[in-house]
Subunit: 222 residues, 2 copies
């Protein structure tokens, strides 16, 4: 009977997005200046509340699009955070998602409107609530994923050099990699297509561009 349901207290359900980007050198996270109380003016993850007619995944997509203008973005649920006092205004449980986006493609007008800025992952300012813990866990998850499956092409332009890809992995894993071993490993995963074009901006010799093979890439996403 419905009384069983009515006896229980409802809560606000929020979604917060850890948005990763890569600027050819550093792994970055997009943060906003919160424009409402509490903690107005402090740095925060982009978030929002769940609407009646959408799933948490939908909400995360919507929130991401609101800030970046992008859709069809890599998004993965991290976990739900539920300390009773995590939001001082009202009991709010938040489900964290992390997203990987191409830092070149986001809509700058939108991010300006939200006073959003990119921060290096090693250099995150103090954040509201438990957002720093969310970021810690997202980085951990991202590192884990990078070590077991090809990931992160979402963070690069469509065509990229081996060196860019290696730098991305180095930024995610937080350590230098040997270029010969890196190339061997990536090529063995068989998800790259070598193009005939070269990128001539990085050196006199030029370096071959690759793109990733979406079909083969999908085999890893089980």
């Amino acid at each position: 009977m419905k009384d069983h349901y009515r006896a229980h207290k409802k809560v606000l359900l929020a979604v917060d997005c850890i948005i990763f980007g890569f600027d050819q050198d550093n792994l970055k996270i997009l943060l906003i200046k919160r424009d409402f109380e509490p903690e107005k003016g402090k740095w925060s993850l982009m978030g929002g509340f769940l609407r009646p007619d959408e799933t948490l995944d939908d909400a995360a997509s919507r929130i991401l699009q609101k800030l970046t203008g992008l859709h069809d973005i890599y998004l993965d649920q991290l976990r739900s955070f539920s300390q009773p006092e995590r939001d001082p205004v009202d009991r709010t449980v938040s489900t964290a998602y992390y997203a990987l986006i191409n830092i070149e493609e986001h809509n700058e007008e939108l991010t300006k409107k939200h006073s959003a800025e990119w921060f290096n992952v090693q250099d995150i300012p103090p954040l509201i609530f438990d957002h720093d813990e969310m970021i810690r866990q997202a980085i951990k998850r991202l590192r884990y994923k990078a070590s077991v499956e090809p990931i992160g092409f979402e963070l690069l332009p469509e065509k990229f050099t081996m060196r860019q890809l290696q730098k991305l992995y180095e930024a995610i894993l937080g350590q230098k990699l040997d270029k010969r071993n890196f190339i061997k490993k990536i090529l063995s995963q068989d998800v790259l297509i070598k193009l005939d074009e070269k990128d001539m901006t990085s050196s006199k010799k030029g370096s071959f561009l690759y793109k990733f093979d979406a079909e083969k890439y999908d085999r890893f996403k089980i």
Copy 2:
């Protein structure tokens, strides 16, 4: 300002527990006969609603204890399920947890009271809502965990034989293992203490009992 919060609709937040046990042969899940509408009388995961003063982890512990009488149990958050129509009565988002318990230790009176029964994982009856999907994901997670870290001692009695442990891994992974390779791998993880006692019930020769080294085990739980 608080108006920002008030504008949003609250939802019911539930917790559902996938409770794993092991009966020396098969990996099992504890299910209950649901005693309230909707779907009264159907099989279901044990669940409950989040209370105002507790975290989701707390709620999962409480729900687990209500059914089994056990506390201090291995519990891990799986993910949150949020299809708008998943519960036909009212919008309810559910966070799934999985638990590992020693099947010998649960309180039979309590489980009888809830009309709970153990089912082999290969043999789960039709369940309400999206509970079958929750179970699918929990098994997947458990398999993954078993392949990368020592896990599952929670499912065994304090003292156990190598053969019992191997059977447990076989049940989790759903495949036969070579006993020599299994022993080599487990011993290399250095989390077992070999006892002087033998279990004489399984064979004439008897087989040595082991217990696990909680301290060394903890090193794996990062």
